[in-house]
């Protein structure tokens, strides 16, 4: 077979390690040289390493097409999907540094324990339509658009990993994180849903902890405008319910 033109040897620095009892990332960055082909993404290089240099290198991935959200990691310090980060868009003269998502406890190498996210999801009141007879349901694309933006989420958890409330302040017990504020927004703004999640959003999801630094929006591979379209409108709903004197009063006497 003809060798593809433009194969370049590039240096990779890949974190390898195991957790301690608290899930802290204990390990070291190992150096590898990989013959990189044109068009390769970071995941191509790591799968090459698995096949040739480090058969037990732990990577979590499924589709390699930016549809499943499994392969989130930190590439040159930026939380990114490994399957979507092109190597020819990165500086040639520097090694490519790949580390696991720092926010979550380590399982091994580049794989972290993201089970906390699944626990949060279970606590959210599920979709509750206004009646069970769907033959009468009609709603329009304009109504769907707003919710469909949120439903593009592929649960890569890069937003959770990037959010300083979780990453630095470790508010795992007080804050649901951008992913689940997006999910809550998708339910609250669903044209057919009638459940009230505002108290949950305020108390348990801790929406007040978000101070709109937009790190989540910046790292979203699906370009969901998390802060502007999901979090801020939910904050407004919480403010309306709990802090607007007139609606507070109306709510108290039973008028929504």
């Amino acid at each position: 077979m003809m060798m593809s033109l433009g194969v370049v040897d590039r240096e990779f620095h890949v974190f390898r390690g195991l957790p301690d009892a608290d899930g802290e990332h204990i390990g070291e960055v190992k150096s590898f040289t990989v013959p990189v082909q044109p068009g390769w993404v970071v995941l191509d290089a790591l799968l090459y390493l698995q096949a040739h240099n480090a058969p037990d290198l732990a990577i979590r991935w499924n589709c390699k097409a930016a549809k499943c959200g499994s392969c989130a990691a930190e590439i040159n310090g930026l939380p990114s999907l490994m399957c979507k980060t092109r190597l020819d868009h990165m500086p040639l003269d520097k090694p490519v540094l790949v580390r696991p998502m720092r926010t979550f406890p380590l399982i091994k190498d580049l794989v972290t324990d993201v089970s906390w996210n699944y626990e949060i999801n279970k606590r959210i009141t599920p979709f509750t339509p206004y009646n069970d007879d769907q033959s009468t349901w009609r709603y329009f694309q304009e109504d769907a658009d707003r919710v469909q933006e949120f439903r593009k989420c592929i649960e890569c958890f890069l937003c959770q990993n990037s959010c300083h409330v979780i990453r630095h302040h470790r508010k795992f017990n007080h804050f649901a994180g951008p992913r689940f504020l997006v999910r809550l927004a998708s339910l609250e703004m669903h044209p057919l849903d009638v459940a009230d999640r505002i108290p949950f959003i305020k108390e348990e999801a801790g929406i007040g902890l978000c101070n709109i630094t937009k790190c989540c929006t910046e790292r979203c591979p699906e370009d969901i405008r998390i802060t502007d379209n999901a979090i801020i409108p939910l904050k407004e709903r919480v403010v309306d319910r709990y802090y607007d004197p007139i609606t507070m009063l109306l709510h108290k006497i039973g008028i929504k």
Binding site: A51, D56, A58, A66, K67, D109, S115, A144, K152
Partner: protein
Amino acid sequence: MMSVHYETKTYDVLVIGAGGAGLRAAIEASSQGVSVALVTKSLLGKAHTVMAEGGMAAALSYVDADDCWQAHYKDTIRGGKYLSNYRMAELHAKEAPERVKELEKWGAVFDRTPDGRILQRPFGGHTYRRLAHVGDRTGLELIRTLQDKGIHCGIDVHMECTMTHLLKDGDQVAGAFGYWRESGRFILINAKSVILCTGGIGKAYKVTSNSWEYTADGQAMAMKIGAELIDMEFLQFHPTGMVCPPSVKGILVTEAVRGEGGKLTNALGERFMKNYDPERMELSTRDIVSKAIYTEVKEGRGSPNGGVFLDISHRGADYIKRKLPSMYHQFLELGDVDITKGPMEVGPTMHYTMGGVRVHPETQEVLNVTGLYAAGEVSGGLHGGNRLGGNSLSDLIVFGQRAGKHAAEFAKQQTVLPKINDEEVKGYAEELVAPFERDSKAETPYQIQADLQDLMANKVGIVREEQGLKEAIEELQVMKARAKVARVDGSRAYNPGWHLSHDIHNMILVGEVVARAALQRTESRGGHTRLDHIEPDNEQWRFVNSTIRLNGSGELDVSTYEKPQMDAALRDLFDKSDELAITKSKQKI
């Protein structure tokens, strides 16, 4: 010797695989009041279903009022080259609309018609606009809806857990054995009934749209406890995968691009489909479009990177970004191509396994194994010789629901759990850890998989011939031997090399099944093309399905069985041109 200790969990129903079929089956089983375990090799919501793009076919008749289940049924039968199981195709066409509406009730947000109902788009081989969809990410919508429903149904979800062996107590399934990917520790799930929803075999091929999980687990596990695989010669090569750059070769380009008006052209600028299917053009069935592209490239009219051109840019940037957003981003980010401005290069990619485990058409119970059920891509029957686009997602929810219902009913009839043979289980555990003890200079399973992928593409690929198939079968024996001595480095903790050291056996075994089934069928039909038998042979092959099983000495027995008979009422739906194909058979089941 490493520890072969294992933990045991007990359930009424065990569902293996958490894609669309597995989730739907688990939700249904759980609604019958039995305890349910749902086991997935990945995290929840990441299964291959998430990659489905174009839509799910159901005769809702919201867009084309003339559509009806009978029309969907006919399209499925014709698209499947008359080899589909008639009863399954009937149930599928009848029940799909109800299952889709149910998704909406559970929170799915489909694209809308101007009057506010579920929008349906045209697709290859469907007479009417029939596919309920969400842009080009319908699979994500399906899996997320089922996931968010499922987590409130009391199902125990076990993530990153691989089942490697099905267990039996006499003629009845008794559960499954495997390991936790995270720790490598062994787990046995003892259950009254088991539902296989493990998907396809695409990772035996290099150029494939399938995710890493598609390693033929369910097909291999079922065969080893007595199940038959049917129609395994029929693989669907999707006509449009990405071809450039090489690292993205095979990534799916949804048929919705053609559904929305995309045109296929060759290097001469010709819309070549006029030479292959002038009536349906780009919306012909996938087998025909794939072979057309293959022929154009082979005869020197391909694009620079060995594909053809697919152009949707005439629909305008706004429309494309709204209806095909993933395609827009996929080509921009991975291929440096702006599809709103110019054509994409596309070529065939291994996409779907039409054949699979032989099941009862109504209950989805696996033939020869009491208490074992199968649904979705791992099962065979519905799609016959070629699957229509959009019929896969509807297959998952229709037969997932049926499998869940019947597996739960079966479990409720059992008063005691089937017995487990501890010695047998320890034997499986020893087999799994054996690679750690091998020569540290032996090859890793990665090299074997790469060689397997080349072999399958070259000799059991989109076109086959006798000589190549025979060579493939011989080379697969060599690979079997290599896989038995492949080495594994490191520990059992999250070790992909170790995981592959087992999966590779499944892929080689089922690869051989495909090769042998393809060798047996000396004709070309649907997703099976023989260069040495290029025409359909109706006399010999129109009325039979192939079947393969493992015999007592571990060899593959290949044979055929006569296709079941279509009900008279259904036969009346067809006209003269179909008559020959559907009237001959006398078989009842």
